[in-house]
């Protein structure tokens, strides 16, 4: 049984860092919200604003991707296709079924979420590299379908989606969509945060760590993966739908591209898949770089080379992403802070006890090296 003093003494040790971290998070959030709200007025011209919307779109997509990638560790390169389905679904529901734009978006997101059940049912049975390959196959199959079924989808000529606010001038149009994207991103972040702190989220993280072990502890791993995949698909499709309504022009080659999926993975990995704002930060860096390269070097494939290089660098040197790497760096300054801080008697006792115990433990359990632990 835990004694009354036991949990409290540990809390004493943690409190200062926790408060600092929390304060830091609040400040970050305020800055983020302020930046989002003021950007449309600060943007010098509609072009910059529309580039900003593209970055926001990437942030939304990679945050949506991170429901699967971050929690369960399943790396999907197929999320571009889910966004494409959402975009085409929205576009077709507006043009063919005559639905109001935002109702079409909602319906399309729900339909893709429903489609994600059989897709996930098939794809989530395989792990690791096999899952990556299955997710790539999804993109290729959908690209073929949407390119060849021309009578319905517009084929490779693409699909034109009417604007939801025909009266708005172009800058106003961008402005409205900036806030729509920001709103959807906020919702995605909120849901990710809620899952992160829930029992469901802890189960998902257990899957990422060791799926068989999680299952043996009683976690219904397949159902968990499927549910979070459906949530992820729903947000991804909604992002695609919003893009369709904003951009108004869909091209299957761009919508169903492995490249889009790879960008999302790169962004999330760069920022850090275990953190709420990691994908957002990654999208900020990579998305801005992509737009910049597009302007500077236009149609050359140089931006592909740059992206590839960036991906390699991140995977090699910051496999946990930039945010965690920065956090680890800040961690190094922490002992100094601690030695200045006053230490309570309870902490001292705790530290001394745990230190001694850890040492005896360590000395005592050393014989258990991998060679002796396996079958003798």
């Amino acid at each position: 049984m835990p004694s009354a003093s036991d949990p409290s003494s540990t809390t004493t040790i943690r409190r200062p860092t926790v408060t600092v971290a929390r304060a830091g998070r609040v400040v970050l959030l305020v800055v983020l919200v302020a930046a989002v709200v003021s950007f449309p007025s600060l943007a010098p011209n509609p072009y910059i604003l529309s580039a900003g919307i593209l970055v926001l779109n990437y942030a939304l997509l990679s945050t949506s991707w991170n429901f699967v990638g971050g929690f369960t560790g399943y790396i999907s390169l197929g999320h571009g296709a889910l966004a494409g389905l959402g975009a085409y679904g929205t576009g077709l529901l507006v043009t063919r079924a005559g639905l109001p734009s935002f109702l079409a978006l909602g319906v399309a997101a729900l339909v893709v979420a429903a489609l994600a059940v059989p897709i996930g049912y098939a794809a989530l049975r395989v792990r690791g590299a096999s899952f990556v390959i299955v997710s790539i196959a999804l993109v290729l199959v959908l690209l073929l379908v949407f390119q060849s079924w021309a009578s319905f989808t517009g084929g490779s000529r693409g699909l034109t989606v009417p604007r939801p606010f025909p009266d708005l001038l172009r800058p106003e149009h961008h402005r409205v969509f900036w806030f729509l994207f920001a709103g959807l991103l906020a919702l995605a972040l909120l849901v990710w945060w809620l899952i992160d702190r829930s029992r469901f989220g802890l189960g998902l993280k257990a899957i990422r760590e060791d799926e068989d072990k999680a299952e043996s502890l009683g976690i219904p791993t397949f159902a968990y993966k499927l549910v979070v995949f459906v949530v992820s698909a729903g947000f991804t499709a909604a992002a695609g739908g919003l893009y369709a309504l904003w951009f108004g022009d869909l091209d299957p080659v761009f919508q169903f591209s492995i490249l889009t999926g790879s960008y999302l993975v790169l962004m999330a990995l760069l920022g850090g898949v275990r953190t709420l704002f990691g994908p957002l930060l990654g999208a900020l860096v990579v998305g801005t770089a992509l737009e910049y390269f597009k302007v500077e070097y236009g149609g050359t494939p140089l931006h592909l080379v740059a992206t590839g290089l960036l991906l390699a660098l991140v995977v090699l040197f910051m496999p946990d992403g930039v945010l965690p790497a920065v956090a680890a760096m800040l961690d190094r300054f922490r002992p100094a802070q601690q030695s200045i801080r006053e230490v309570t008697a309870a902490e001292l006792r705790e530290q001394r006890e745990s230190g001694v115990r850890a040492e005896t433990e360590l000395a005592a359990t050393r014989p258990g090296t991998p060679s002796t632990r396996e079958r003798a």
Binding site: S198, A358, E361, T369
Partner: protein, 245 residues
């Protein structure tokens, strides 16, 4: 008369040409400390894997407390009341000790799953298990930064957090020092006195003989003897299979 906790009939599993389980029919007793011993490669771990649904047996049946669990998924077996540890000790390496233990909480229903993972009652219970296993000072330490012995204790804490009626331990004393070994042995007896059934695969004969009520001996994928420690100790077939006499 003790009733049965776990019973198998004709359990068979072959890996390619290797027959790991060969029609094994075993019965373990409810409320007791059972041991499953036998030479390396005699199929003990495979037996655990088949019983817990982690690998599917080629043929045969598993019954737990009167319920057929032959085709149950591992999480369903866990929900039926069977917890297990692994020979190679499996914990969640990049999670703190606390989260490792909290991950074993059974959330009730959809709403229960959406609740915060660090509810006060659960955290208290998790800390309770860490304390009982003597690793409460590691509560915020990631499992990958712990020693082998500490990881074994943490794995056990997680399994106990899921509150299993029956606990399968695969070589709990493997690679641990004598002091820790005593602690584990004492803990098993304590938990058994509190009503938990154990099935323990173990090579340390002193430990097996001192804590078990009932021993089943495996050789080449099937039981060759069973009985209380006093009988097993002097059984010729056991000596033959085990010690190569």
């Amino acid at each position: 008369m003790t009733d049965q906790a776990l019973r198998t009939e004709g359990l068979t599993k072959a890996f390619g040409g290797v027959v790991a389980l060969d029609g094994a029919g075993v019965a373990f007793r409810h409320g007791q400390v059972n041991a499953l011993i036998g030479p390396n490669g005699s199929g003990k771990t495979t037996f655990f894997n088949c019983v817990t649904g982690m690998i599917r047996a080629d043929s045969g049946r598993t019954v737990y407390r009167g319920r057929d669990i032959t085709r149950a998924t591992p999480h369903a077996v866990a929900h039926a009341g069977i917890g297990r540890t692994f020979q190679l000790c499996r914990v969640f390496p990049r999670m703190s000790a606390l989260d490792n233990v909290l991950a074993a909480v059974r959330p009730g229903g959809v709403l229960g799953r959406l609740r915060g993972a660090r509810g006060r009652a659960e955290v208290d219970r998790a800390r309770g298990w860490l304390t009982r296993l003597g690793i409460e000072h590691l509560v915020d330490v990631e499992a990958r930064n712990m020693s082998w012995g500490q990881q074994k204790l943490l794995e056990l804490a997680g399994v106990l957090m899921s509150d299993p009626e029956t606990v399968l331990l695969d070589e709990p004393a493997g690679g641990v020092n004598p002091a820790l070994l005593d602690r584990i042995g004492g803990l098993v007896r304590e938990l058994n006195a509190e009503g938990r059934t154990f099935v323990i695969v173990e090579h340390n004969m002193d430990l097996v003989m001192s804590i078990s009520d009932h021993i089943v001996v495996f050789d080449r994928g099937r039981p060759i003897a069973e009985g209380p420690p006093s009988v097993i100790r002097s059984d010729e077939r056991v000596l033959g299979a085990y010690l190569g006499v």
